[in-house]
């Protein structure tokens, strides 16, 4: 399989098959809900099943194509990979199909193939080794509109962070299609805080941050948010979030940046791994 075919396959899988950890979390939510909340989760689970069986996009908003690439410093196929990313987006847009979602902010013109200036959005992170990992995270507009950057005063501390996350996610109500997955980025500069929030979304549900203090914050934020009563689709219920993931960076003494990346229940992701010998695996 060439890179374009593998990446297009990953985009297609992400759009049509919900990862098992997310499906399991939705099933557990269904089991504990009642009334309108249960009706919503039932519709969600039926939809996921039908999308998977027919290989159809789970949601009509197939998102902005976004890649997070970790490439080995000795990975020999970087040049080919760089050009394969937009090509794979074009192919997947035709084949899956994906909704053409790239609009020129001045003219309103849509090129129709999900590419454009800076799009697909790609983050390149070098790592040791000779292979590459490409994470696909197509994110819908409804949840992306609920992302937030807040530059907190460092004096507010951890309590201030908790309060800001809870206030914001609760204020979003049903808009990001809850139950959501919330990625929280703490520290860095403004851009890094939001980037860390997005990276936090790549971690499978149920997997905590390896550092106990961070893991404890994740668990506490989940509990606090689920006590809000916003519920599935903002119609009330016990499950407002499926998970909260936290990542952090060191910060400037004067700054406490907080990046909140909100992801809808249709948490679509897939990963392509490429070895130095061009061996390829696509997984979710």
């Amino acid at each position: 399989m060439d890179f374009v075919a593998a990446l297009a396959e990953a985009l297609g899988r992400a759009a049509t098959l919900l990862p098992q950890d997310v499906v399991q979390a939705l099933r557990r939510a269904w089991a504990r809900e009642e009334g309108p909340a249960k009706v919503q989760l039932e519709a969600i689970l039926r939809n996921v099943e039908m999308a998977g069986a027919g290989r159809l996009p789970i949601c009509q908003d197939t998102g902005t194509p976004t890649f997070f690439v970790r490439f080995g410093l000795d990975f020999p196929h970087l040049k080919e990979l760089v050009s394969a990313l937009p090509e794979a987006v074009r192919r997947a847009t035709q084949e899956v199909p994906l909704r053409p979602n790239t609009v020129h902010p001045f003219t309103g013109k849509n090129p129709g193939d999900n590419t454009g200036r800076y799009i697909p959005a790609v983050t390149w992170d070098p790592m040791p080794g000779d292979s590459a990992e490409i994470h696909v995270l197509p994110k819908g507009g409804g949840s992306e509109n609920c992302c937030l950057l807040k530059m907190l005063a460092p004096g507010v501390g951890l309590k201030g962070i908790k309060e800001a996350v809870v206030e914001h996610v609760v204020a979003c109500g049903g808009l990001p299609c809850p139950p959501t997955i919330v990625g929280v980025g703490i520290g860095g500069g403004a851009d890094l805080a939001l980037k860390l929030g997005k990276l936090a979304l790549l971690r499978p549900l149920g997997q905590r941050h390896p550092e106990p203090e961070v893991a404890a914050l994740e668990a506490e934020l989940e509990e606090l948010l689920n006590a809000s009563g916003v519920g599935p689709m903002g119609l009330g219920g016990r499950t407002t979030v499926l998970a909260v993931h936290v990542e952090y960076a060191h910060r400037h003494p004067a700054s406490l940046p907080l990046g909140i990346a909100v992801q809808c229940w249709a948490h679509r992701r897939a990963t392509v791994r490429i070895g130095p010998d061009r061996s390829i695996t696509v997984s979710q």
Partner: protein, 195 residues
């Protein structure tokens, strides 16, 4: 027993629905997002809408010969249409607005005046929606507005589940819930500050 409403829906049928009711829709469901609302208010609607259902949706569609096939068609965020919906309801008199996330006071008031409801369809459930669409009867303003923003006329059968989230009697599940959530939030704030 599942309640099914068939278009054209009479004013009395819409007024009989109460916030929290669940129903399914059969008949004509017409998509309209931001641009379609704006344009309809400027130039008039391209088809009579009285008694029909409006859907806040930009579908994924595929051309199949002379016709269109709908691949996925879940709702978009309705709040953006708050700018237009009250006037749209008064002028074109649809009986059901289908969307997600709820709408504001101006729409709630217009729903009561006209005798219409706002019904919530599960966000993201694009395939579930598409399988209830039997046929694309027509499409308007496709050239000018593009696929997501065009007006699509869907023939639907048992489209749902739809939850009446805002009824014709001034009740809104979102308003009721936000009072409850605000009380919960007070308790959560106290817990955070106390720890």
């Amino acid at each position: 027993m599942e309640r099914v409403l068939t278009t054209p829906i009479a004013e009395g049928e819409a007024r009989a629905l109460r916030a929290g009711d669940v129903f399914y829709l059969t008949g004509l469901l017409i998509t309209a997002r931001d641009e379609a609302h704006r344009k309809a208010l400027e130039r008039g609607a391209p088809l009579p809408l009285e008694g029909l259902a409006i859907f806040h949706c930009g579908p994924v569609v595929q051309r199949k010969g002379d016709s269109w096939e709908v691949v996925a068609a879940g709702p978009t965020t309705s709040a953006r249409m708050e700018l237009f919906e009250a006037e749209f309801l008064r002028r074109f008199r649809p009986r059901v607005i289908v969307g997600k996330g709820g709408m504001g006071e101006k729409t709630l008031q217009a729903l009561a005046e006209v005798g219409a409801v706002y019904a919530h369809f599960t966000g993201g459930a694009g395939v579930l929606a598409a399988q209830a669409i039997r046929r694309v009867r027509d499409v308007f303003w496709l050239e000018e507005l593009g696929i997501p923003e065009a007006i699509w006329v869907f023939e639907v059968e048992r489209f749902g589940p739809l939850v009446v989230a805002m009824d014709a009697h001034g009740r809104s599940l979102y308003k009721d819930l936000s009072a409850q959530v605000e009380r919960n939030l007070e308790a959560i704030r106290a817990r955070i500050r106390g720890t």
